[in-house]
Subunit: 203 residues, 2 copies
């Protein structure tokens, strides 16, 4: 049984989509071992409790990033987490965190990376005037929104869109993409060549 | 009758697709008034001659960019060109060129801009490991691969791809996209809001 650790800071809509996918078997042979928020008030934390999941806040309390991260790492390890999924976790991870879970931390970003990294990617894309954007599930490395890409799904920008309607349609695709990417990674039937994610059967 | 000027440096496959679209009426009420290459040996120039089009080489001959561009501008103006289409033209345009045809110069780029500007965009995308790329037709402004986007078409990167197969599939989409974008611009039924290309009927 694969054990997932979820990190979130907000309402956790991607966490809820993952929880649904675990419950329905779309992410097979997996359970959510622990949900952690850096903010006690995060609605996603309350939602995790309501679903009967282990859910705790680990707040910064003025500690340095590395020190705060050490407590999170220890909590994840105590729950035997083998895959960490960032789901709207609004803090950068320290290098020590990334090294504690090598190629075992996933993030989702609401653009077709490498376009529009950072905050407000949907508004960035809207204002740039792209006609195709989307979302990206990727491994987390030391650089922001940079690690090897596991899955991307595209979304058309419509003439009638505003940043909000666009973000909503991207979010629908995020909910599909993240669970599929987690299932892929847990299956182990892939390899990374350079930065390319390839099915293991490929030559 | 709209008059197109084509600038190319190589085999001009996008030029040929445009010429076919003009001939078939997919670009309505238009003709190719002049094809110009900065290289006399460009196969696209010979292809233009074979089709009975006005086609000339205007080589640099060690002149400065602005001076070379002035001869090209004068030639385009002499042929009453009202839309300039870069089709694999491997030189940067001087500011004077861009000001001579404000919002009337188009380029096509083999990626979903703003991702992968510059040379070898298809290989850049392949090596980055994106799963969605494509092509972009955009207005030319003073910055490289930067002007407002008229049309983008997406292309999936396949596990079996290499940079060559990927570039070939992108090129197929370029041939569709460029003619459609030219028809859109010539129709005049659009407006640019910020950087966004919108149909004129939109509020």
């Amino acid at each position: 049984m694969h054990k997932l650790g979820i990190l979130l800071s907000g309402r956790g809509s991607n966490f809820l989509a993952i929880a649904d996918a675990v419950a329905s078997g779309r992410i097979p042979d997996a359970q959510i071992a622990i949900v952690i928020s850096n903010l006690a008030a995060a609605p996603g934390l309350a939602a995790a409790c309501e679903r009967g999941l282990n859910a705790i806040a680990i707040e910064t309390n003025r500690r340095k990033r590395a020190e705060h991260d050490q407590e999170i790492i220890a909590t994840l390890k105590a729950h035997n987490v083998d895959l960490v999924c960032l789901a709207g976790y609004m803090r950068l991870l320290s290098p020590g965190f990334i090294q504690a879970f090598p190629q075992r931390i996933l993030n989702i970003h609401p653009s077709l990376l490498p376009a529009f990294p950072g905050l407000d990617a949907q508004t960035q894309a809207f204002e740039y005037g792209v006609q195709v954007t989307g979302c990206t599930v990727h491994f987390v490395d030391e650089q922001l929104d940079h690690g090897a890409i596991i899955l991307q799904r595209s979304v058309s920008v419509l003439p009638t869109d505003d940043p909000h309607t666009l973000a909503t349609r991207i979010l629908d695709q995020e909910h599909i993409a993240y669970s599929e990417a987690i299932a892929r990674v847990l299956s182990g039937t892939y390899r990374i060549v350079g930065r390319r994610y390839l099915p293991k059967s490929q030559p």
